[in-house]
Amino acid sequence: MSLLESSDVYWNFLGQCTQCGHCTPACESLTAADMTLGGIAKRLLDAQRNASSAEELAVELASDPQLTQAVRGCFFCTSCKNTCFAHNDVSDLIYHARDDYQKLGLIPRDTYASVEVDKEWDIFTAYRAIWGIDLTDLTRHIKTEAHDAATDCEVAFFPGCSLAAYAPELTREIFETLDELGGKATMIDHCCGSPLKSAGFFDRAEALCDRCCDEIASSGAHTLVCVCPGCKNAMQAALDSNGMDVRAISLSAFLLEHGFTPKHPLPEGSYCMSKACQDRDGSCLAATLEVLGLDEDTVEIFHGCCGAGGAVNSFEPDRVDAQTETKLSFAPDGSTVVTMCPTCTYTYAFYLMGRPRELGNKHYAELLFDTQIDWDLVFAQLQGMWTGEYGPWLSQVFA
């Protein structure tokens, strides 16, 4: 048996890579590591070849700073994949590498303890519990004291962790609209598993998606509306692998299909679209532009990660700020940056809190619905969690 659990994945990647080196300058992390994508697979297999036990392999890998940089410094923005002549799938490679790193004990627990989103407590559920955010009336497919478990839902709504935690009223407003436009709705109140994958818990991420699928199946819904393109991708893959006849669709596309009219006119001014890196084929971007009434030809669109991807902040926090700054540098002062993933909105809001600019920062849902996200409140509450009465409990839970 191979010491690396994903040895076959690395072999297959190695076989597909010409080692032309074109990917390296597309990525700061690869450049810092001076590695190609195929080089990552090569070095993992080299380390395996040089080791006779898991312990030796762990030492081999830990003593290769370039490889560690390449594996843990990845935002999953896919700039390297896009630049690769063969579009070799970097995400698959890095997710598996992190999985192997995790299994070999090479990713410290304190870097992911607060985002083990398949456990009872993570940063989002703790935030909601501490600040009294209760959305259980929206999870109609789960029996509560107030309602029985519904099995006749038409639409399942997947707000994702950030939106449900930091924008509960907006979540509720979107839910009501879906209920009105698409028929009886319910809310899937879980994470898509992205933070788990970033931390190297591939199996747990898939299990979490499977749990979501079970809930969707029990609700009877045939449409899953996702706010974030990343959630949509992860859930569509899980739905497909579970053989379910359920379509995952972005909120923008769903609203377009159902003739939704924005709750208020788009404020005048210039807009910059921050394309989510998980929106690989640009379909969410296209639908978002259309539902907002923005013209692709006149709106600045910028690509690349906001800085939140891949849990790089747990490895190279400085690079996250640099990445956010780079991305926001495309937006001129006075404009509004429109995000598609609520975590991007959060990341920009956090950055702008420390380095204020004349820049609007809106999730597209804020431009379509009445409720706006109060980031000042969110950050105050996030900070307050740790310093208030729940601080010691949090420190213990996430230790």
Binding site: G15, H22, A26, T83, F85, G282
Partner: protein
């Protein structure tokens, strides 16, 4: 006939040791096949990447960097590599592969023998052997030619990817380069005129002289003691112009290596006809790479799409199919349908394409001409049946990770979704 062995457990044979052959070995090993694998290689080196040969010739990569896989990796795959020159005959009845030195039995065989460039259309009897590019030997010859201080004027004939990378290699050595083609535009197999025209502007800005729709008609080797090479090449073009060059590079087409396949032993059209699992008409013969006519994504027809990515994917599929069948199971994961996709840059001028540029009555072309980029999208059908079937992007800037690459990846994904 010297038959080296004859057992019931004859090795799986792989004819050819390029991307398809190497990935067939990986496919076998990563899918549980632990038996013998015999590879027939007509080179004495590790497998090289033909894509990188122009980078080597142009001085951008070292010789060693042209070999994607190490000896340690080849060793780990546990391959018996036969270096006896090209395979001369594949006897599917006797399950034997012949080289000049003898015959080797096989249980299953993957044909992954690739292709070679052909100078078709070049005047063969002119006394000059044109430069071509596929193998490392070709690359060495090209490198020597353009490193020769006596050589300063290069004529590149053909406007394909290989030709254009050769143009770049010559530009990197400060050559005077003329690019000649039979068609009106460069990249005639990949680009519609709007995208090609922008690429041509980029070439012209780098002082590449273009002679399009004006192919070589004749070449005469003129002995010239005053010339550092002791001769010059006088080229007559179709329009009657005559010009002198030091060397001529030719990339006029490719021919696949299937001479060893006996007539009627397996179904061959322009390449070996295979199913989705890379199986030929013979139940023990599979094929992958440039020799294969597999299902093409856009048309659904059986076509040769000779690019690295397809060769690697097809080789891996052949390997895992054989591993499954030898284990008494049905293969479950067919190969993705072939898609023509190319990326090339000549210094700062970048071209990305995927899909088809063959226009039909049902086609609709959208051209977007921007400040730095021309984007051509080719659609088929109307309304709900409208699908993206091809695109070209030509960009004046080659920025890795930049907008052109992002758009290219996005359109490639959309095309695959539309056509799957």
């Amino acid at each position: 006939m010297n038959v080296h062995e004859m057992t019931n457990d004859a090795p799986v044979a792989i004819i050819g040791f390029g991307a398809a052959g190497f990935n067939a070995a990986i496919g076998l090993r990563t899918n549980g096949y632990t038996g013998p694998i015999r590879v027939f290689s007509n080179i004495d080196t590790l497998p090289y990447s033909p894509i990188l040969t122009s980078y080597y010739a142009g001085g951008e990569l070292s010789y060693e960097e042209c070999f994607p896989w190490s000896q340690a990796e080849v060793d780990e795959l546990d391959l018996d590599i036969v270096h006896e020159g090209p395979v001369t005959r594949l006897d599917t009845d006797a399950h034997l592969i012949h080289t000049e030195k003898g015959g080797y039995p096989y249980s299953k065989c993957v044909i992954a023998s690739g292709s070679v460039p052909t100078p078709v259309g070049f005047p063969r009897d002119c006394g000059y052997d044109p430069l071509m590019l596929r193998t490392m030997d070709d690359a060495e010859r090209l490198k020597d030619a353009i490193a020769n201080p006596g050589c300063t004027r290069m004529l590149v004939s053909g406007t394909s990817m290989v030709s254009l990378k050769t143009v770049e290699a010559c530009l990197n050595r400060n050559f005077e380069v003329t690019l000649v083609g039979i068609m009106d535009h460069v990249l005639d197999m990949n680009a519609l005129p709007e995208a090609a025209a922008r690429f041509e502007k980029g070439l012209a800005a780098q002082d590449v002289a273009l002679k399009l729709a004006n192919p070589i008609k004749g070449v005469e080797v003129i002995e010239d003691a005053a010339h550092p090479l002791g001769r010059r090449l006088e080229v007559t073009f179709a329009n009657g112009d005559v010009e002198s060059y030091d060397e001529i590079f030719v990339a006029h087409g490719m021919r696949n290596n299937l001479e060893f396949v006996e007539e009627d032993s397996i179904v061959v059209d322009r390449g070996v006809i295979v199913d989705g699992f890379m199986r030929s008409s013979d139940p023990d013969v599979y094929a992958a790479g440039d020799v294969v006519q597999g299902t093409e994504l856009i048309s659904g027809d059986k076509r040769i799409v000779g690019i690295w990515k397809n060769a690697a994917a097809q080789g891996a599929c052949a390997g895992r199919t054989i591993a499954a069948e030898l284990a008494g199971m049905e293969p479950t994961r067919p190969c993705a349908e072939s898609l023509a996709m190319n990326t090339i840059s000549v210094r700062d001028t970048l071209f990305i394409s995927a899909g088809t540029i063959q226009l039909t009555d049902n086609s609709h072309v959208e051209v977007e001409d921007g400040d730095t980029m021309t984007v051509v999208r080719i659609f088929e059908g109307e309304g709900d049946t409208r699908r993206l079937v091809g695109f070209n992007i030509t960009c004046d800037v080659d920025e890795p990770g930049g907008d052109a690459y992002d758009l290219g990846a996005m359109l490639t994904m959309r095309l695959c979704e539309d056509c799957s």
